[in-house]
C-alpha cells in the first residue's frame, strides 16, 4: 500500500468521528460542546464496553450518550468532566466498529459552517481538518508551520464565534449557494495546497491524505457539483505521483524524470473517473482545468494542447501559480524566451518560489547563466523543503560546468 493510500485509509477510519460530530454540532450549534460530549461518550465506551460487551449498534449508542451529555451541559445538569479524544491513548479500533451508515449525514452542513464568510479564512481549512477528520491542533499546526498554541487559539476562536454568532448548520439557499460552495472548495483545496504550492512540508507532516479524504467526502455530499469532482480529480492525480516525487535518497524528482511505475494506478483511475463525472455537467471550472492539466501531463499530451488548457485556466482563475505554469507551457511550445516574457509580464519580481525556479530553468536554457544563477539562489531561499533546495542547488552548480 502506498503512503498516500495508507493515509487515505486512516482518514476513512475517521468517517465515524466526522459524522458523529457533524450530527451533534448541527443539533446544538456548538462545535466545542459537541466535541466534548463526543469525547465523553468515547471515554465511557472504553470503560463500559470491555465489561458489558460492545452494543449491537455502537454508533447509535455513542450518539445517544453524546446527545445526553450535550443536554446535561446545556441544562447544567452535570459538572463538566471531559477529556479530549486522543487516538494515541484511546483504542483507535473503536472507530472501526462503528457503522455510520445508519446515522443522518450532516457533514455538508458542517463544511458550510467551517467555510462560512463569518469565519476567519485562515481558520477554515484547519477547522475542517479538526472537526471532520479529528486532526489535532498539533498535527494541523505542523502542516501549516505555525506554533501549536497559535493553531489551538485559532480553532478555539472560530468555534466560539460559531456558537456566539449562531452560524446556522444549513445548506445555503440557491441564490447564495455558488459563492458558498466556492468557499468550501477553497478550504478543501487549502488542505491540499499546503503541500503543493508552498512546496513546503516534509512528507511526515503532509496532509495530502486528509485533503484527498475531504475532497472525496465533498463529492459524496455534493454529487451534482462538477467542481467538487474536479477538485477530487486534481488532488487524486497529484497525490498519485507523490511516491515518484523523491528518489531513494529523498531528492526531488521533476515530473519529466519521474519513474511512472511508482505512480499510484488506483488513485489515477479514481482521478480520471471524477474528471469524467465532472465533464458530464458541461460547465468549465478552475479545479476541473487544473485536474485536466494533471491528467494531460501524466498522459504525455501534445504540449500545444496543454498550452490551451493553461491559457483557459489563467483566464478563468489567474493566480501566481497559473501564471507560472502558463509560462512553462509557453516555453515548451514557443521556446524559453517566450516563456520568460510571460513570467516578466505576469509575475515580475514577486516572491513566489515556483516562478523563480522556472525563471532559473528558462534563463539556463538560453545560456544566460548569471541571471539563471541569481534566480536559482532566489528560488532556493524561498524553498521550505530540503529535497527541493538540494535539487535547485545541484542545478545551480551545474551552471559552472
Amino acid at each position: 500500500m502506498t503512503d498516500a493510500v495508507r493515509r487515505a485509509a486512516e482518514a476513512a477510519a475517521r468517517t465515524s468521528y466526522g459524522r458523529l460530530l457533524a450530527l451533534l454540532a448541527a443539533r446544538c450549534g456548538d462545535v466545542a460542546l459537541a466535541e466534548d460530549a463526543l469525547a465523553d461518550a468515547f471515554e465511557r465506551a472504553l470503560r463500559t464496553w470491555p465489561v458489558g460487551g460492545v452494543p449491537a449498534d455502537p454508533d447509535a449508542w455513542l450518539s445517544t450518550v453524546a446527545r445526553n451529555r450535550v443536554r446535561d451541559v446545556v441544562t447544567g445538569a452535570a459538572a463538566r468532566r471531559t477529556v479530549a479524544l486522543d487516538p494515541q491513548h484511546h483504542d483507535p479500533g473503536l472507530l472501526d466498529r462503528i457503522e455510520p451508515g445508519t446515522l443522518e449525514d450532516r457533514r455538508l452542513e458542517l463544511m458550510f459552517v467551517c467555510a462560512h464568510p463569518a469565519v476567519d479564512p485562515a481558520a477554515r481549512t484547519p477547522l475542517m481538518l479538526n472537526t471532520l477528520l479529528g486532526c489535532t491542533a498539533e498535527q494541523i499546526a505542523g502542516a501549516f508551520a505555525v506554533p501549536k498554541s497559535t493553531m489551538a487559539a485559532r480553532l478555539t476562536r472560530a468555534k466560539k464565534r460559531i456558537r456566539q454568532a449562531r452560524i446556522p448548520f444549513r445548506v445555503p439557499d440557491r441564490a447564495e449557494l455558488p459563492a458558498r460552495i466556492d468557499a468550501v472548495l477553497e478550504a478543501v483545496y487549502g488542505a491540499f495546497a499546503i503541500d503543493w504550492h508552498t512546496t513546503g512540508r516534509e512528507p511526515r507532516e503532509s496532509l495530502a491524505g486528509e485533503a484527498l479524504y475531504l475532497a472525496e467526502v465533498l463529492t459524496e455530499v455534493l454529487p451534482d457539483d462538477p467542481e467538487a469532482h474536479g477538485l477530487a480529480a486534481l488532488i487524486e492525480l497529484c497525490t498519485a505521483r507523490a511516491p515518484a516525487r523523491r528518489d531513494a535518497e529523498g531528492r526531488y524528482v521533476p515530473l519529466e524524470q519521474q519513474d511512472r511505475a511508482v505512480w499510484d494506478a488506483e488513485l489515477i483511475a479514481r482521478g480520471h473517473e471524477h474528471l469524467r463525472r465532472a465533464h458530464l455537467f458541461a460547465t468549465l471550472g478552475r479545479y476541473q482545468l487544473e485536474a485536466a492539466i494533471q491528467a494531460a501531463e501524466g498522459a504525455d499530451a501534445d504540449p500545444a494542447v496543454l498550452l490551451d488548457i493553461h491559457r483557459a485556466l489563467h483566464r478563468l482563475a489567474p493566480t501566481l501559480g497559473s501564471a507560472t505554469s502558463l509560462a512553462a507551457a509557453v516555453a515548451r511550445v514557443d521556446g524559453p524566451a517566450a516563456g520568460l516574457a510571460v513570467l516578466d509580464l505576469e509575475v515580475g519580481e514577486q516572491a513566489f518560489q515556483p516562478a523563480w525556479a522556472t525563471r532559473a530553468h528558462l534563463c539556463a536554457a538560453l545560456g544566460r547563466n548569471e541571471e539563471a544563477h541569481a534566480a536559482y539562489t532566489r528560488a532556493i531561499d524561498l524553498s521550505h523543503g530540503a529535497a527541493e533546495r538540494g535539487f535547485l542547488a545541484e542545478a545551480r552548480d551545474a551552471l559552472r560546468r
Binding site: 462560512h116 463569518a118 449562531r166 452560524i167 446556522p168 444549513r170
Partner: protein, 122 residues
C-alpha cells in the same frame, strides 16, 4: 436571537449631501423599516445624531465621569443601530445587506448578549 446592526461611516459635513439624495435615502429607509416590521423581526432602530452631539459616560476609573465627545475620535463613527430578532446569523446578514445604510456605511452585525425587555434582563 437578537442581532444589532451597528452602522459605521464617516460623518458628512453640514450640507455635504444634496437634499434629493437625503430624500431618496429617507424613502429607502421607510421601505426597509416597513419590510422589517412586516417580517416580524424588528425590535427597534435608531439613526443617531452626529458624534459632536455625543456625551460619554463611564465609571471605569471608580467615580462617574461624564465627558463631551465620543468615546474615541475616529474617522468612522457609530451612526445608527438596528436591533432585529431572527433565528440565526445568516438571516441577520440577509437583513443587514438589504439595509440602505449598507450602500454608504459599514454595518457591524453583532449578536446581542442580553436584552432588557419591559424592564427585565433576559
Amino acid at each position: 436571537m437578537r442581532y444589532a446592526f451597528l452602522i459605521h461611516h464617516a460623518e458628512p459635513a453640514d450640507g455635504e449631501i444634496p437634499a434629493e439624495a437625503i430624500e431618496e435615502m429617507r424613502r429607502a429607509f421607510g421601505a426597509y423599516g416597513r419590510a422589517l416590521q412586516e417580517a416580524g423581526v424588528l425590535v427597534g432602530a435608531d439613526i443617531l445624531a452626529g458624534q459632536q452631539a455625543s456625551t460619554t459616560v463611564t465609571r471605569r476609573n471608580g467615580s462617574s465621569q461624564v465627558q463631551d465627545g465620543p468615546f474615541a475620535a475616529t474617522k468612522e463613527a457609530l451612526a445608527g443601530v438596528f436591533v432585529v430578532d431572527v433565528p440565526d446569523l445568516d438571516v441577520a446578514l440577509g437583513w443587514a445587506e438589504k439595509c440602505p445604510a449598507a450602500s454608504y456605511a459599514v454595518l457591524e452585525v453583532r449578536p446581542v448578549a442580553t436584552s432588557c425587555v419591559a424592564g427585565e434582563w433576559t
